[in-house]
Each structure stands twice: as structure tokens, then as C-alpha cells.
Subunit: 237 residues, 2 copies
């Protein structure tokens, strides 16, 4: 927790914020070993961040002075990530990683090699997803939550949603054996599609290329999806 | 297991290889659903790789024809990674990731913010380390094992070993707030130093800079060590 992320409803009169949830109170006490008078990095969900003073801390509440929060959050990564739904434990970690890296739009996609059972995972509950996004923001000192969308059918996604997503964005399908190397330091918005462990099936790759996406690769090494996503975002940014 | 990694002692007359360990036998049966006559990607530790035929498979042994293995392993990443010893679970994962990414030299370093107890972890046993390196090679279809060295003292490392490591390598210390952005597509050998969660302490950064390393950063986002290492290697390569 490199940032205490405050929701707008925590804040009174633009000046005081009260934190009452046990997770953050425990972290303030045990990791930060915070005491009244300390200044900590604070941010307001969707808004500014900066240093703020801890005024009081007891078993039920921490109260901060937020009047000096005036810095913008770090720039977002202009990449909409379309990720084949990973296995639940990996999903949790991937949401944190890509949020920390600054992705603001995430679509979780069904593909042939996504196990059906993954769609029933409790990790897909709104509240669980939200928790992982918040952990990613707290890690990276960001305040702007990504938007997560579920696309439970590959064909409806490609036919109904992909054309709109590709308007104004460069589409990139990451898949081993594609002709082009992953571009570096992209200076335009991108839609990045990453398959599941085992990859997209050839029919899926064909549909994505037909829709106007460019096939890119990361070289001869086959990487875990988790590693590949981080490498792709690091190269594109 | 995108590659069946064979040790030289598994091989008879440059032609047949016998695999007998339960982990790989189970994987062949359950994940690959392999049957005699199938061709699989095989590699010889430290040597060539290619496609080879599964000749027989029973409860105790898989036997492969390795006579057609003639491709070189993927290029190594010319980066010697010096990583502050991570917590045990993270160590296991990091060894796999960086091996998959092609790093061939890994030094695990003690720093002020490394918890003493981490040095007692069974994850540091040679055999455990070897297992994670093999998992990384199998993932990335590589055959050349990285070399892992433990540096249990920061000062002896800096005084006795760092000068030799920096001969012929560009030294890079990744640390938030350093002046330079991480270089991209480095075309020379590098020594990359990455601190623990919480970072190097200022005294450590000073020693590393004095020794001739360049301080680099990844922007305003604070990343987990695991993510930061992958991002750094992706940018450098």
C-alpha cells in the first residue's frame, strides 16, 4: 500500500478523510507503523494525490488532512487489454499487475481454450475484481480505477464489439509465430489481445486478423500469459 | 512444459532418450496426452532442440528418438541480474520468470531490507532452485540453465565482486527517483541490480552509483519487484 486510496464518500468538506475498514487500518498500524503527525501518500479515487497528515488513529478510524492533495495521478497506459479469461488465481494476480502498469480498460474474453469452469469462479464477482484493482492502484500510486468488461462469447465479441473498439485504436494480437515483432514505445492508442495458456486456436487468430488486427510475437520464447502480458505492456509503453 | 528437457545422461548413442521421473511422465500422459508415434518438442540440457518422436510410453518410462534434434536454443539475454533476495514464494516465481525470459546469470543479494529469515528458506536449496530453473526452461523452450549465485553480504559483494562484474558490462541500478529512464533495446551486456520490496536504502544506492552503476527508473508508478523485473528485462531486450 504505497498510497492510501480514499473514496469520495470518505471525505468531509474537502479537508478531512476518515478510513474505517479493517484492512487499511491494520496496514497503517502494522506496515506503516503510522502515528498522528506522520505524513503519508494519499489519493482520492478518480482524483488527485499528494502527501497528507494523519491527524488521529484509533481502533476504529484513521483521520487524515487531505487539503494538500493537488498532484495528478500518473499517466494512464493508452492500451485496452483484451485478455482470454485466465484461471482464477492467475486472474487475481493479472488484474493487480495490469492495473499497476496503468491499463484502464480490461476486457476478459472467452476463447476456445478457456476452461468453462473459470466463468463460474467467485473471483469474477464485482467486489473481488474491485479489490484486486484497488490493490493495483495502491501499489502503483494511481487513483483511477480500470473498467473491467466480461465478453463471454468470442464470436459476439468479434462481430459486435471489436469493430467499435478498433475505431481509433491499433489492434494487436499477440500470438507465437505471427509475422511482426511487438512494436516498442507505441505513441497511439492500442487494443492488445492476448490468448489463454495454450494460445488462441487458428480460427480465432484468423477472425482477429480479418477484423483488422495485426499479428505480433515476442520471439521464440513461449512465455506464461502473466509474463507475456507484462512484457507486451512494457514494450508498448 | 512446452519442451521436454533431457539431461545428457538420459541419452543413449545420440539416438534414444529415456525419461523416468514421475513429474514428466505424468505431464506427458495428462497434459500432452502423448501416445507412441507423436512428435514433441525435445531439448538436451545445454544443447540442441527440435522435434522428436515418442517411441514408447509406459508407467515407468517414456522413450524418445532424439536423432533429429538440431536447432540451437533461443538466444540468451545478455543481462546478469542481481536481485535482492525476495520472499521465498516470490523467489520461486521470479526464478521461473527470469529464466523463461532468457537470463543466464542470477545473483541473489542481501540488502538491508531483505528479511534475515529469507536466507534460511528451503527454497534456496540447490535442488529447489534447480527445479524452478528447469520449469522456466521448459516454459520458454530453452535448454541452457542459468547460473545462480548467492551473495549474502552487501558490502563484500560491492567491494570484492562488483568491480569484476562491471568489467565489460554496463551497470544499471533500478530504483525509483533515479535520474534516467530505463534504456530500451540495449545492445551491450548489462548488469541489472534490483532492490527488495521497499527498495535499496540510500546508502546502498550510493555505493552502487560510486562503483560505476547508472541509476535508472521506470516512471512514477511503484511496481512490485516481480513486475518491475519483467518490465526492466522487456525494455532492455
Amino acid at each position: 500500500m504505497n498510497l492510501i486510496l480514499l473514496s469520495p464518500e470518505d471525505i468531509e468538506n474537502h479537508r478531512l478523510a476518515r478510513v474505517r475498514d479493517p484492512r487499511r487500518l491494520a496496514h497503517l498500524r502494522e506496515v506503516h507503523r503510522a502515528r498522528p503527525g506522520d505524513t503519508l501518500t494519499l489519493g482520492i479515487a478518480g482524483g488527485a494525490l499528494g502527501r497528507g497528515e494523519l491527524l488521529t488513529l484509533d481502533d476504529d478510524e484513521a483521520c487524515f488532512d487531505v487539503s494538500a492533495l493537488d498532484q495528478p495521478p500518473p499517466p494512464a497506459l493508452p492500451v485496452h487489454l483484451v485478455l482470454a479469461l485466465p484461471r482464477p488465481r492467475m486472474l487475481a494476480r493479472s488484474l493487480e499487475h495490469v492495473t499497476a502498469l496503468g491499463v484502464k480498460q480490461i476486457t476478459l474474453l472467452n476463447t476456445r481454450r478457456v476452461e468453462k469452469s473459470y466463468w463460474q469462479s467467485p473471483e469474477l464477482d464485482d467486489e473481488k475484481i474491485h479489490r484486486h484493482l484497488v490493490l493495483g492502484l495502491e501499489q502503483a500510486r494511481d487513483t483511477r480505477l480500470p473498467e473491467v468488461t466480461l465478453a463471454k462469447g468470442f464470436r459476439p465479441f468479434v462481430e459486435d464489439r471489436l469493430p467499435g473498439l478498433l475505431a481509433g485504436r491499433r489492434g494487436l494480437v499477440a500470438h507465437p509465430g505471427m509475422p511482426d515483432d511487438c512494436p516498442r514505445g507505441l505513441d497511439e492508442p492500442a487494443l492488445l489481445l492476448v490468448g489463454p495458456e495454450g494460445g488462441f486456436i487458428p480460427w480465432e487468430v484468423e477472425r482477429l486478423l480479418e477484423a483488422g488486427c495485426q499479428g505480433i510475437h515476442l520471439g521464440p520464447r513461449i512465455l506464461r500469459v502473466e509474463t507475456a502480458v507484462t512484457v507486451l505492456l512494457a514494450r508498448l509503453s
